[in-house]
């Protein structure tokens, strides 16, 4: 593990943060009355698209030379389709988990689903980019002593912090402050976003500080 790796990680993460910031400001040039709180669902879609795009670009830039050995078109297509199915599956399973957590079953289905989508964007998409549609590899990364590189380590951190952010985002909902951002699922999406950004910021720093202690087995 070298410092250059960490630097690359940091730049990639900054790019992701930048994409989120862009998703806040760019749409207001094209759409009238755009604001995060009032046209929340639009922002969710845009943010999700932006983050996915940046992740894909990063994947293509960083990984293109690595995985060039299997370059047949059909392989790529099936891989891509598999990725889409995985993403969809994760959206649905997040939706189910939200409902089990107490989200309304019938009302606000779209809102709940978009929360699932944005959470999938923050968690599943990076997993897909980094690990591919390989569920075993995911399970490995998210278990003790399972990470094999700083990328996987940062993936672990950002994913967990996104989850925690979403979880914490649910806490203001019952309060009687009467703020617009307390409505379902705005606080949760904001929490997810903040958690993701926090994870993006924290993970390079954490890896940098612990670079002496971190040893990856098959790096």
């Amino acid at each position: 593990m070298k410092d250059t790796d960490i630097k690359r990680l940091l730049y990639a993460h900054l790019l992701c943060i930048f994409s989120i910031i862009l998703s806040i400001f760019i749409p207001s040039f094209f759409l009238e009355n755009f604001s995060i709180l009032e046209t929340h669902l639009t922002w969710l879609c845009i943010c999700s698209v932006f983050v996915t795009a940046v992740n894909l670009i990063l994947y293509l830039v960083v990984k293109s030379n690595v995985s060039s050995k299997r370059s047949s078109l059909s392989y790529k297509v099936t891989r891509f389709l598999k990725c889409c199915i995985y993403l969809l599956m994760s959206c649905f399973s997040f939706h189910v988990i939200f409902v089990l957590y107490g989200a309304p079953l019938i009302e606000l289905v779209l809102e709940t689903f978009l929360l699932a989508v944005i959470l999938s964007t923050f968690t599943t998409v990076p997993c897909l980019c980094l690990l591919g549609p390989n569920f075993k590899a995911w399970l490995r990364v998210f278990s003790r002593n399972g990470v094999t590189s700083i990328w996987e380590n940062s993936l672990q951190i950002t994913t967990i912090s996104s989850f925690i952010g979403t979880w914490l985002g649910a806490f203001p909902i019952p309060l009687d402050w009467g703020r617009p951002w307390q409505e379902w699922p705005i606080s949760c999406t904001l929490g997810a976003t903040f958690g993701y950004v926090a994870g993006l910021v924290i993970s390079p720093l954490w890896i940098y500080w612990n670079r002496k202690k971190l040893t990856y087995k098959s790096n």
Partner: protein, 1071 residues
């Protein structure tokens, strides 16, 4: 001895908590008795006729009315200085301009122009200065308190004699508009009313504008005698912005315009009263007893001159109240009574000789004023003062006890733990209480049980805490005090903090499942993180062969995932049975909480009834299936027989009761009496059955099937009848070994008969699950009567409760390692999840911690006529409300037992892969049989320590909840919602805690009873065999699958069959 000391210690801890709760309650809850006497016009207040009597005027009562009509304007939180002029006139200080000053200028104008027609007073509001209590005080003329003991809790309606009732009694038309609270207090009392919700404190204008809309039309219509307006804008503005905000100026100006408009429209026979019900602090809150909160403005105006004569005074209230209440000071009461009799004598004298007695009149007035002040002071002493000292001491006692629970539960886990020191504090407490009582009795002071208990508690707690602290501090750092894993600690902290927010208390029905779901997901994630969730095969793919699981995976991963998923589903589904607290407008309660009798439409009702009966049968089947799985259904013991035959009877009784109760109105008239009798008898029969089942269980708790046989047990020889020549080789292959085995057995039997010295073997089944079988049976017996107290459809929740706790126990067992010889521990996450689940089930059985939400109908189950307030009905309502607390507390020892119970599944999993069958055939006895719960019996010291630790941990988790609600109620005693949210929450938590702690002790006692019974059972067995003079060995079998096959296998090498899973093992007797 160990058992007794464990139980005594737990009871002592419970007593410490109770003492803390009682001390806090005595300082916090302001209670007074409610008087139901009502005045009437026919009974004059005193002896003799009244000199100012009514003189036969129409509509008059004791005296002639001065004004024919009244306009009462209540401006919520109208502090006295709001009515002051713009510049403060304190000499020597620079005039200050505040937003709220001088806005009610019409008062000043009227006071200047018509000084004889108007008065402005500063009225003193008695705490608690919350709107509902203040309205009660204004209309009844007494001091407000939180709990008015005596009347029904079901509604807030004022039961005491009050102005509104008297006015309507004399035929006045009372018209009201404004705050909805009046509707709760005086339902149906107004001839015309416009109520507006007071819920949203941020909404400044809805109520006021609503009133203004109806004000002028109503006033002009003339269809009223008393007109009451209750404006909320000022109060809400205070809560939202505080009094020093420009909004307050606007609001007061609006009120000024309203008053001006009213004054212009007043006719000569009308009195205008403008009053604030209380004041507000500088931050705009109220509820407490500070000067600013207490001061309210009172303004009187009439177009005719006020007060031509002095108003009369009576002492009826004190007389009546002191006859009812016992807690008034006798000395002071005597003094006041004497004072009043003197004053009234003077007054009578004055009336008889009216000429030239100015001085006499003055003395009468002073005497009467003294009397009234004295009465008020005495009543305040009795009802209406927070005792901060008691509150703080109570909270401190609770906190210290929690801390003690933590300390002792930590030290109980260590191997060198002694039980004897546990008894010392109990003895200390007893002696302390005795000494205190003796001292108090000797000095002749009045004995206050609360203080006495608290002193005993503190006296016994302090040395114990000191000792524990010394023992702890010398060894380990402070950080080791909180041994729980951080996520669980975080969840408990969130739960703790949630008590301090009224929103979270109101939303706890959603917050508790949220935390529970989080904990469950955390458990699953933790299992995965530790590598226990998924078999290593899945993880170590072709590329990643390095991963080594940390421990042997005792459970299939998908199994644990399924458990978690099922658990979440159960929690979510039981959340559908949700009742709203009264306060939330945007919430609708589940329609399934109402009894079936309230349903119209036969078809739907029948379907629901069928479903409910199906649920009952499922519950029964689930319990029986569980017992059968562990083989406990085979035992010939009476409790098992009761489970087999009594439980179906109970189900039948419940179903019949439901059928009659839901269709009682449709019964033909001839059968009415019969139906009514059955409605009374059926619940009693079910409860009686349950009670007898529990008694049976306590009498013979060991549900073990014993089979004694001489020598080796027979291998099963079933000779299939066979006739005719064998048709194939397969037939031959089948028959020949059978014949061989039969011959072998015959031969062996003959051999042993000749030897007659063969070792006697006793096979005992189901010893491995003997504790938990008793627990589950007891819980089922408990659950059925509780279920009967609920509405029919809540039986779904009870089924879910059983499923849920079963799944949770399994999930927890997957993560708890069994430390075979050493100290057993129940991890914190298990205890926390259990407590969370108890809370969640409290809500999902349709309860809320507010008084109007209590299921009062539970008091009428199995009761022939509607009784008054009796202990039985209180018990029934309490059992209904705290059913989940009770069930979970009694079932708490299952947390300790279950991992041992699940042990039987591990080896079975390993044994059953098809390829290994041959191996199992060859050397089956090499697999060590699971000892299951007998491991606990093997280490009685650790078993008792673990029970103690479990009890302390559960008490700790419950204790911090009661501590949090007590702290919240005391810290936020000035909060707007204190009497609506925090105080009821505290009361419910306190009663729930008491129920839980008692249930916990009962559950642990039950386990100990089973343990004792098992011991004596062993002893008897050994004795009987020693008497026979034979060397004995005992086989006990764990899981029940073998029990169904009726025989264990002692000498498996003789047997050709593979062993049934989890069958037998040798248990060494140590007589």
């Amino acid at each position: 001895m160990q058992k007794i000391s464990v139980l005594l210690f737990l009871a002592w801890i419970g007593f410490l908590f109770y003492a803390g709760i009682a001390l806090f309650t005595s300082g916090f809850l302001l209670t007074r008795l409610e008087l139901n006497n009502h005045s009437s016009c026919q009974e004059p207040p005193g002896p003799g006729s009244l000199p100012w009597g009514s003189r036969g005027e129409p509509g008059a009562c004791w005296m002639a009315s001065r004004f024919r009509r009244l306009v009462l304007v209540v401006i919520d939180a109208l502090r006295f200085d709001f009515a002051k002029p713009k510049l403060s006139q304190v000499s020597g200080e620079p005039p200050v301009s505040l937003p709220f000053l001088g806005k009610l200028s019409s008062f000043q104008k009227i006071l200047e122009i018509q000084p004889h027609h108007a008065r402005l007073y500063q009225s003193k509001a008695d705490p608690p200065t919350t709107t509902m209590q203040r309205i009660k005080a204004l209309t009844t003329g007494s001091l407000p308190t939180f709990v008015d003991a005596g009347s029904n809790f079901a509604s807030y309606a004022v039961a005491e004699d009050n102005l509104i009732k008297q006015l309507t009694n004399t035929g006045r038309r009372v018209v009201f508009m404004g705050d909805e609270t009046w509707n709760d207090l005086f339902p149906g009392a107004f001839s015309q009313a416009f109520f507006f919700s007071s819920f949203d404190v941020r909404d400044l204008h809805t109520v006021d504008n609503g009133i203004l809309e109806h004000l002028h039309p109503t006033m002009d219509s003339g269809e009223w005698d008393v007109l009451i307006f209750h404006f909320l804008g000022v109060d809400h503005c205070g809560h939202k912005h505080g009094p020093h905000h420009p909004e307050m100026a606007k609001k007061l100006s609006q009120m000024d315009q309203v008053i001006q408009g009213l004054v212009e429209r007043l006719e000569n026979d009308t009195l205008l009263v403008v009053t604030g019900d209380h004041g507000m602090t500088t931050s705009g809150n109220h509820g407490g007893d500070s000067e600013l909160e207490n001061s309210a403005a009172l303004f009187l105006y009439s177009p005719t001159a006020l007060f031509p004569s002095a108003p009369p005074e009576v002492s009826r209230f004190l007389r009546t109240y002191s006859a009812v209440a016992q807690d008034l000071q006798v000395k002071e009461l005597h003094r006041l009574q004497n004072l009043f009799s003197k004053a009234s004598a003077d007054y009578q004298q004055l009336l008889q000789s009216p000429q030239g007695a100015e001085a006499a009149l003055q003395t009468v007035i002073t005497e009467l004023q003294q009397f009234l002040r004295g009465v008020r002071a005495m009543c305040i002493e009795s009802w209406a003062r927070f005792s901060l000292v008691r509150m703080a001491a109570g909270a401190a006692l609770l906190a210290a006890t929690c801390f003690l629970c933590l300390l002792v539960s930590q030290s109980a886990a260590s191997p060198g733990f002694y039980f004897r020191p546990l008894l010392i504090p109990v003895v200390w407490g007893l002696t302390g209480a005795m000494v205190c009582a003796g001292l108090l009795a000797a000095t002749g002071l009045k004995l206050d049980l609360v203080v006495l208990g608290a002193m005993a508690a503190v006296g016994s707690l302090l040395p114990c805490l000191w000792k524990a602290w010394i023992g702890w501090g010398s060894k380990k750092p402070l950080t080791a005090l909180l041994p729980m894993p951080e996520p669980v600690l975080l969840l408990l902290l969130i739960r703790f903090a949630g008590f301090f927010s009224d929103s979270f208390v109101i939303a706890e029905a959603r917050a508790a499942p949220f935390l529970l779901v989080s904990l469950v997901l955390l458990l699953v994630a933790q299992l995965h993180w530790e590598g226990k969730l998924l078999p290593p095969k899945l993880l170590t793919g072709p590329r990643f062969g390095f991963l080594t699981p940390t421990g042997p995976s005792r459970h299939n991963g998908l199994h644990a995932l399924g458990l978690g998923g099922g658990l979440l589903l159960c929690i979510r589904v039981s959340g559908l049975f949700h009742r709203c607290p009264e306060e939330t407008p945007a919430c609708s309660s589940s329609p399934w909480l109402s009894p079936l009798a309230s349903m119209v439409g036969g078809r739907a009702k029948n379907l629901w009834y069928g479903a409910c009966v199906g649920v009952l049968v499922t519950l029964l089947a689930v319990v029986r299936l569980w017992l059968r799985h562990y083989g406990n259904l085979k035992s010939p013991e009476p409790p098992v027989l009761f489970v087999r035959w009594g439980l179906p009877l109970m189900v039948l009784g419940t179903a019949a009761y439901w059928a009659l109760a839901s269709g009682a109105d449709e019964a033909p008239p001839r059968l009415r009496a019969l139906v009514a009798g059955a409605l009374v008898m059926l619940p009693r029969a079910v409860a009686g059955l349950a009670a007898s089942g529990l008694v049976l269980l306590l009498w013979r708790p060991v549900t073990v099937l014993v089979k004694a046989s001489t020598g080796a047990p027979r291998t099963r020889t079933i000779l299939t009848p066979f006739s005719g020549p064998p048709t194939s080789q397969a037939d031959l292959d089948y028959v020949v070994p059978q014949i061989y085995r039969h011959m072998q057995e015959e031969f062996r039997g003959r051999l042993e008969r000749t030897k007659s010295q063969g070792p006697l073997t006793v096979a005992a089944y189901q010893l491995g699950s003997v504790y938990s079988a008793a627990m589950v049976t007891a819980l089922t017996f408990l659950a059925f009567p509780l279920l009967l107290l609920h509405a029919e459809r809540i039986s779904f929740v009870f089924l879910l409760l059983f499923l849920q706790s079963f799944l949770l126990l399994h999930l927890l067992a997957a993560g708890i390692p069994i430390t075979t010889p050493g100290p057993f521990t129940v991890p914190w996450q298990a205890v926390s999840a259990w407590a969370f689940m108890a809370t969640q089930t409290f809500y999902s059985t349709g309860h809320q911690p507010v008084f109007p939400a209590i299921h009062w109908h539970a008091a009428f189950v199995g009761v022939s006529e509607v009784p008054g307030f009796t202990w039985l009905s209180a018990l029934m309502v309490g059992a209904n409300t705290f059913a989940s607390h009770l069930l979970f507390a009694v079932g708490c020892p299952l947390l300790l037992l279950w991992p041992f119970l699940c042990e039987s599944q591990g080896p079975r999993k390993r044994r059953q892969p098809p390829g290994n069958e041959a191996e199992a055939r060859v050397r089956p006895e090499e697999e060590e049989e699971p000892l299951m719960e007998m491991r606990l019996r093997d280490a009685p010291h650790h078993f008792n320590a673990a029970l103690l630790q479990l009890g302390l941990k559960y008490l700790f988790v419950l204790g911090i909840q009661i501590l949090a609600s007590a702290l919240a109620a005391s810290i936020l005693r000035r909060h707007l919602m204190v009497w609506k949210v925090f105080a009821p929450k505290f009361i419910f938590e306190a009663i729930g805690f008491i129920v839980s702690s008692v249930g916990l002790c009962l559950g642990i006692a039950l386990v100990m009873r089973v343990d004792g019974a098992v011991s004596s059972w062993f002893r008897q067995l050994v004795l009987s065999h020693q008497r026979a003079g034979e060397q004995s060995s005992l086989v006990y079998t764990g899981a029940g699958s073998s029990a169904r096959e009726a025989q264990p296998h002692l000498l498996p090498s003789c047997s050709q069959e593979p062993l049934a899973p989890g069958t037998s093992s040798f248990y060494n007797l140590k007589p």
